[in-house]
Symmetry: D2
Subunit: 254 residues, 4 copies
C-alpha cells in the first residue's frame, strides 16, 4: 500500500479520463476541472483508490508518462504520443542521451523525450518564439521534467552550437534548411528525424539529406485506428484522425 | 573522433543495411554475412567510417537499439519495433521499472523493454519453451542486455509470482487466461498490454478485463506505411505488411 | 449547347457543392437550400452555366449518379457510394440484371443499383419498415429511378420469393439468417454480398455461407482517404471516416 | 436449369479460382491452365456445376465482369478492379455513355468501362503503342466486349478529336498535358479522372485543372484490406498491396 506524500506530484483522473497533475504542496485554489480545493488533503491517501473531491470522483495515481502527456496544456499543435513513440524507437533514444529538438511547441514531444533520456541525459530545445518556450516549460515543470530540458530562443536553421548529439528532431516548416547544421551537430551513428505534414516538405528534406553522408534514410507514415469492442462485437472506430505527419529518418556516418 | 575499444560490441552495417553485432573480443571465425575474419582488427578503427572486410564494405558504428533489434536472429514470430514502440509509450515504460512479459519469443520485445528499463530496472520474461528462452537470451547477450532480464520457464496463465509490477505485456494465444493473475501482480496505476492478431482474442481479453478494476481500457491497431521518395516524386510503397496485431491496454486501479 | 427542357429533372449545385434535384415541372414553392422560386424559370437556360436564384449562385447541370446520391435525403444510415461502388464491381452488377437488396434504408444503395441495372433490369427491395420504403421511394422518384425498383414490406430472413436472381445484397443486422434463402434465390454464378460494421457479424455470416455451395468467398474492408492538395504541397486529410462496414462476397454454384 | 450453348463464351474456374474464358465454338487445342481439350464438349452441360477436364475440376459458369477482369492476360500494369469501381462511381459512368480513356494498357479498365456503357455506349481508347492496343483488344474480344470499344493509335496529349464526352479517364505519366484537351472534349457536367501513383503527378495535374472551369475537384486514395476469417477468429490479411494510385476527379462547367 503506497500513500501520497507531502510535496509530491500526483495525477487525478476523472471518470471521463481527463487528467490533472497536482502537487500536494500547492495552495488551496480553483483548479480547472476539479474546482476549489486544498491539494494537501491528498497527503496520506492511498495510491490507486478513487476519491471524492466536491461532487466529482477521481482516481488518485502516481503520474505515468501517459498522464504527463495527456495532462499537458496545448498552445500549439502537438506531436502526438503515437508519433513520439515512433520517433523515440526509430532514433533509438534512451536513458543518458543528449538530444536536440526544434521547435518546442507545447512541449509534448519534449516531455516524452525528457522522460526517456532521464536525469543522466539532456534535451536541448530550440524555438524562436519565447511564448512557446514559456508555455512548454510550464508543462514540463508540472511533469517534474524541467531539469532535463535546456531551452534556447533560437532559429535552428541559423545553426546548431551543440556537438556530438545522439539525435536531432525537427518539427519546423522548413526542416531542409537545418539538415546541414544537423549533420555537423550529430555524432557518427546519430539520428536525424523530421516531422512534416506535407509531401513537398518530405521531398525537399530528402533532397537535402542526400547531399550529406546519411544512411538508412526512410520515410514512414504511422496510422492508428482505435477499435470499438462491445459485447455485440468489434469494429474500427468511425471517428479517426486521418493524418498527423510523415516521419523521415536518417543516420549520420562519416 | 571515437575509436573502437577492446572487448567492445560494435555493429557492422553492409550496403544493403544488413546488420551484424560483433564483439571485438571474439575469436577469428566465420561470421554469417561477413565471412572469416578476426574481430580484433576492428580495435582502433574510427566509429562512423566505412571499412572493408574481405571484398565487402561495412559502416562501423556503436550499436543503437535499432541495430540490436535488426541484428536479432529470429526463431519465432516477433513483435515488430513499430508495435514495441507503441507498447512502451502506452504502458509508460521507463528507466528503472520492473516489467513482466510472456512469452519471450525470439527476444525482440525483450530487447526493446530491457533497453528502456536499463540497469536500474528489470524485465522478467516467462516462456514455457526452454528453446525459446535459450535462443532469446543469446540475442540479448549479443546486445549486452542480458543482465537486465530474468527468465522463467513458466506458463503465465498458471500464475505470476511477482508483485507490484509497473507493466505486464502478454503475447500469448490466450491472454484472457492470465488477466486475473496480471491484475494481482500489477501495482496500482500499472499497465496491462496484450498483443493479439485475431479479433476474437481481443474480444475474449476485453471480456475478462472488464471483470477487474481496470480503467483506460482501449484497443488500437497500428499501421505503418513506408513512403518511396525519389527525384520524380513520392508515393506509398506498394509493398506493405497489412497487419501485425491488435494492441489492448488497461490500467489497474483499486 | 444543351438547354433545359420542360418537365426535366436538373441539378442545382451551390458553391459549397450542395446539390438540389429539381423538376422544371414543379410549382413555385420554398425549396430547401434555394428559397422560394419557380422551377419553370430554368427552362431554356444553358446546361453547364452558373445562374443566380435570389442571392445565391448555382451551377445548372443534368443530374449524374453522383448528384442523385449526394442530393438524397437521409433517414437511416446509408451505404456510402464508395462501398456501393465495390458492391457493384464485386457482384458484377450490370445493365439488365435482376438484383435483390434488403433493407432499403434511405434508398442510397438502391439508387446506385437501379442506375446500374437500368430500364431492362429490376431492383427488388425488401424492408420491414414501411416508413423507410416510403422515404426511399421519394428519393428514387426525385432521381427518376422509381420505375426500376419494386419494394416489398417484408423481412428477408423469413424467405425470398424471387428466383434466378443475379445478385442479393444484405444490409441487415443478422445477414446470416438470410443466407440459406439467398442461396436458393440466386442463379448459378449469382453473387451474395453482405455489409456489416462488426467483425462478429462477418464471422457468423461466413459460418453460414460455408454450409452452402458458395465459392470465391471473401471479406474486404474498403478505406478511403481524401487528399488535400494546395500550392504548398499535398497531404492526406486530417478528417477521415475510420470505418464504414466489412463487405463479404460469395458466389453460388451447384 | 441453364445449359451451355454452341458458340457461347463460358468461364471455367479451377479450385484455386483461376479463371479461363473459353468459347465453345473454338477448336481442340492446348489451353493454358486446362490442357488439350475440345471446347465443344461443354455444349449441353449445366451452368453452375463442377465438371472434370482431364484430371482437373472446373466450375462452369457464364462469365461475369469479375471473370472477364480476372481472366484477362496482362502485358502492362493494370488499373485494378477496386480502382475501376471508384472511377466508374465517381465519374457516374452508366449505360449509353461515350467515354474516352488513355492509355489502353492491357485493357483492364477498358473492360470494366465497356461492360458499363454497354451496346448503346462507346469507349474510345487512345494509346501510342500499337502492341498494347492489339493485346488489349484480344482481351476485349475474349470478353465479348470488342464491339463497344474504338481504339486510336494516338497520343492524348496531342489533342482529342471527340466532342461532348461523358467522361475522360487518363492513366498516362503526364496527365496534366492532356487536361486542356480534356476540358474541350467533355460535355458540360462531364467528368475528368486521372490515375497517378506519385504525389507530384497529382500536384501538377491539380495545378492545370485549376486553370480551367472545373468544379468538384478532389483526390482520393482507395485502400483495400482483405480480411482472413476462420473458425478461430478474424484478422486483416498480413499480405497487402500498399498503394495503387491516387485518383483525381474534376467536373466541367461552362
Amino acid at each position: 500500500m503506497t500513500k501520497v506524500k507531502k510535496d509530491e506530484t500526483v495525477v487525478l483522473i476523472d471518470e471521463n479520463y481527463n487528467k490533472y497533475l497536482i502537487s500536494t504542496g500547492s495552495k488551496t485554489d480553483k483548479y480547472k476541472g476539479i474546482g476549489v480545493f486544498d491539494p494537501s488533503i491528498l497527503v496520506g491517501k492511498e495510491i490507486g483508490k478513487q476519491i471524492e473531491i466536491g461532487s466529482k470522483k477521481f482516481w488518485l495515481l502516481n503520474p505515468s508518462l501517459q498522464d504527463k502527456l495527456q495532462g499537458l496544456k496545448r498552445k500549439a499543435q502537438i506531436i502526438l504520443p503515437r508519433d513520439a513513440a515512433q520517433i523515440i524507437m526509430n532514433c533509438s533514444i534512451e536513458s543518458g542521451q543528449k538530444v536536440l529538438e526544434a521547435g518546442i511547441g507545447s512541449g509534448s514531444l519534449t516531455t516524452a523525450l525528457a522522460n526517456t533520456v532521464g536525469s543522466n541525459g539532456k534535451i536541448i530545445s530550440y524555438d524562436n518564439r519565447e511564448d512557446f518556450i514559456k508555455h512548454a516549460m510550464k508543462n514540463l515543470k508540472k511533469a517534474n521534467l524541467e531539469n532535463f530540458v535546456e531551452t534556447k530562443l533560437k532559429d535552428v536553421t541559423k545553426g546548431i552550437s551543440e556537438k556530438n548529439l545522439d539525435a536531432i528532431i525537427l518539427d519546423i516548416p522548413n526542416p531542409w534548411d537545418a539538415v546541414e547544421h544537423a549533420y555537423k551537430a550529430l555524432k557518427p551513428g546519430g539520428y536525424l528525424c523530421t516531422y512534416s505534414p506535407l509531401t513537398s516538405q518530405v521531398e525537399n528534406t530528402i533532397k537535402e539529406i542526400k547531399k550529406h553522408n546519411f544512411i538508412e534514410v526512410k520515410t514512414i507514415e504511422n496510422i492508428q485506428r482505435k477499435m470499438v469492442v462491445s459485447d455485440k462485437g468489434m469494429r474500427p472506430s468511425f471517428d479517426m484522425l486521418g493524418h498527423t505527419g510523415y516521419l523521415t529518418f536518417a543516420r549520420k556516418v562519416l
